[in-house]
């Protein structure tokens, strides 16, 4: 095969989704956010819902998510994205609303907002990127930091006596009747990326079908603040995070009888 055949559009095996902007991503090399953004852009494009999708970005590394996907966005205060999304979703019931939040934003300062939005069954998608650390502020302990994990505020490792236990908030959320689909994914291999895309697509389809809250956790790396190479960070995640944050579906009511679900009243 010659070069002209390789660059022939008919032979393309991969291209950037149209909805991803040309802006250079500010994420560190090796970070999982860029992959999750790309999957989001692909899903919104595949479902052809860019004219009715509104994203809510968090405070944290993904604060600038609005720079990268060609849809309407709102930037929320730290932890408040589920409340912001509630305001949008309740007054725009024909739109598709999603929040994009990290573990400090969602599981610490925004724990009340996420639990109540999910418990009310707000018709929205939550993308929860869990890398067990505060990335933007320089690697401090997060609610999801593992026991013994070294961070800027746990320099000798997370100590239960001093810092309490890591929070499995996704397990809590799966208990809430307002959620219809709760899953835990990752994006560290081509296979898991494909699987994660299917999960995100399923979550957006559930929002289109008005099935309440869909929640996709993506267990991720923060190689910069974990102080590892990207490859090593992926290995560390598989060895240390997966046994505690076990990948897979925690709840899937997508095939449940529609009559069994009480839709939100606006």
């Amino acid at each position: 095969m010659e070069l002209k055949d390789i660059i022939n559009p008919n032979n393309l095996v991969y291209e950037k989704p149209e909805l991803l902007t040309e802006n250079t991503m500010h994420y560190c090399p090796g970070c999982s956010h860029g992959v999750v953004h790309k999957l989001l852009a692909e899903v919104i494009e595949d479902l052809d819902i860019q004219d009715k999708t509104i994203g809510v970005s968090p405070v944290g590394c993904a604060v600038f998510a609005y720079n990268y996907i060609e849809i309407d966005w709102q930037e929320a205060a730290h932890g408040r994205a589920p409340a912001v999304a509630t305001g949008i979703a309740r007054t725009n019931p024909d739109k598709v609303v999603f929040t994009y939040q990290g573990d400090g934003d969602l599981a610490s300062i925004g724990a009340a907002e996420i639990l109540h939005a999910c418990n009310r069954g707000e018709n929205m998608v939550v993308i929860f990127v869990n890398n067990g650390i505060y990335g933007m502020t320089g690697g401090q302990m997060a609610p999801t930091t593992l026991i013994g994990q070294v961070t800027a505020t746990t320099p000798n490792g997370r100590d239960v006596g001093r810092n309490g236990y890591p929070l499995k908030i996704t397990e809590l959320i799966a208990q809430l009747p307002g959620t219809s689909y709760v899953t835990r994914q990752s994006v560290h291999t081509p296979a898991t990326i494909r699987k994660c895309k299917k999960a995100i697509a399923k979550a957006f389809q559930a929002a289109l079908d008005k099935k309440g809250t869909s929640f996709v956790e993506v267990v991720s790396t923060c190689n910069m603040n974990w102080k590892m190479t990207p490859v090593k960070a992926n290995e560390w995640m598989v060895e240390n995070m997966f046994p505690f944050y076990v990948p897979g579906d925690l709840k899937d009511s997508s095939k449940a009888d529609p009559e069994s679900y009480t839709p939100l009243k606006n």
Partner: protein, 361 residues
């Protein structure tokens, strides 16, 4: 002509919100304003106008729901009382920073802290000077009657959308709990999605329509130069409000030798004070600021040239008095009389204060 009813101030806020075509109310119960949401839930406006009413998990969540809905071009209102407004301060700063319109009602109670559930005007500074972080201003309207609780909902929205800025109705437990006759406004239909797109499509996050740029609502700007420009744009907007939106009312000021300045429920007490003082031969008038921001500096400065002294009457330890002093200058004494802790001063008490602090009786 609207419908004449006998209603509580808090109930009227709810009724006015429905009638002026509000898209949503988000709130959390707190005394002495819980009747606002109770009235809305009882009225079930979702069946009548399609208005959404949601009891949030906290005041923090309420104000961020307001942020989300307002950013999509919707006409949205919340209400609370002093401690709840403190919790909303974060969101109010974000709404002001992102330049979104909304109406926030503060039915004040006594503070600091959990304070008391009785009326107070101690949130004047919080409402007019800040409350949340950063250089921002709210449009602050101070109703002195149940009728104005009705009228200022629509006025608040008019100004909020004109300037894309949050407007606050700063009232208190007196007006919120008082029953008075009120002429309710006629119904204004809610805007359709097409109308919102036409009017606010240049900024509202209601879905990127083919052919238009994506809209982004944020208060974040990492470049200092651009952030300063954002601040200058806000300051120019506030200066325009000061130029164009000042509202006040004068009561028997034509021949006044002394002036009372009071807002909201204190101004109602001071109207009676003026009558009582004049019966005693003291020529006193009353100036009532209706907008607390923008503050009526010019009319106060003008009256300061006419009167021998000014008494500022507030249900707090002395907050608006500083703005009156700035407007009046140093040529005449400007004194403060206030009660705190939920105590409402009587008109006679204000006459005594006038005599003691200004006339030297």
């Amino acid at each position: 002509m609207g419908e004449l009813r006998l209603m509580k101030g808090n109930e009227v806020i709810a009724e006015a919100a429905i009638r002026c075509g509000c898209d949503a109310y988000f709130g959390y119960p707190i005394t002495p304003q819980s009747e606002v949401m109770e009235t809305l839930m009882d009225r079930e406006p979702w069946d009548e106008t399609g208005m959404v009413v949601l009891q949030a998990e906290s005041e923090i969540a309420s104000i961020h729901m307001i942020y989300g809905a307002a950013a999509s071009g919707k006409k949205v209102i919340t209400s609370s009382s002093s401690p709840g407004i403190s919790l909303m301060a974060e969101g109010i700063s974000y709404i002001a920073g992102a330049e979104l319109p909304c109406v926030i009602v503060n039915v004040q109670r006594g503070g600091p802290g959990l304070g008391t559930i009785q009326p107070s005007q101690a949130d004047y500074w919080q409402s007019t000077k800040g409350g949340g972080h950063g250089d921002y201003r709210l449009i602050v309207l101070a109703p002195s009657s149940v009728q104005e609780m009705n009228d200022f909902v629509e006025l608040g929205f008019k100004l909020a959308f004109k300037y894309r800025n949050p407007a606050m109705i700063l009232t208190d437990g007196v007006i919120g709990q008082t029953m008075e006759k009120v002429i309710l406004s006629d119904y204004i239909p809610r805007l359709t999605d097409e109308e919102i797109n036409e009017k606010y499509g240049s900024w509202a996050t209601n879905g990127r329509k083919p052919g238009r740029q994506r809209n982004i609502i944020t208060s974040l700007e990492m470049d200092s130069g651009r952030m300063e420009q954002n601040n200058l744009r806000l300051q120019a907007k506030y200066a325009k409000m000061e130029e164009e939106e000042v509202l006040f009312e004068e009561f028997q000021c034509e021949d006044a030798e002394y002036l009372l300045v009071a807002f909201g429920s204190s101004s109602r007490i001071c109207q009676k004070t003026v009558d009582l003082a004049r019966e005693k031969g003291i020529k006193v008038g009353l100036l009532r600021p209706i907008t607390l921001f923008p503050f009526p500096k010019k009319p106060i400065a003008a009256l300061a040239k006419q009167v021998k002294g000014i008494l500022v009457v507030e249900m707090n330890a002395g907050q608006m008095v500083e703005d009156v002093q700035l407007a009046a200058g140093c040529a005449i004494p400007v004194k403060h009389f206030g009660r705190m802790g939920g105590i409402i001063p009587s008109p006679g008490e204000v006459v005594e204060a006038l005599e003691q602090k200004l006339i030297g009786g």
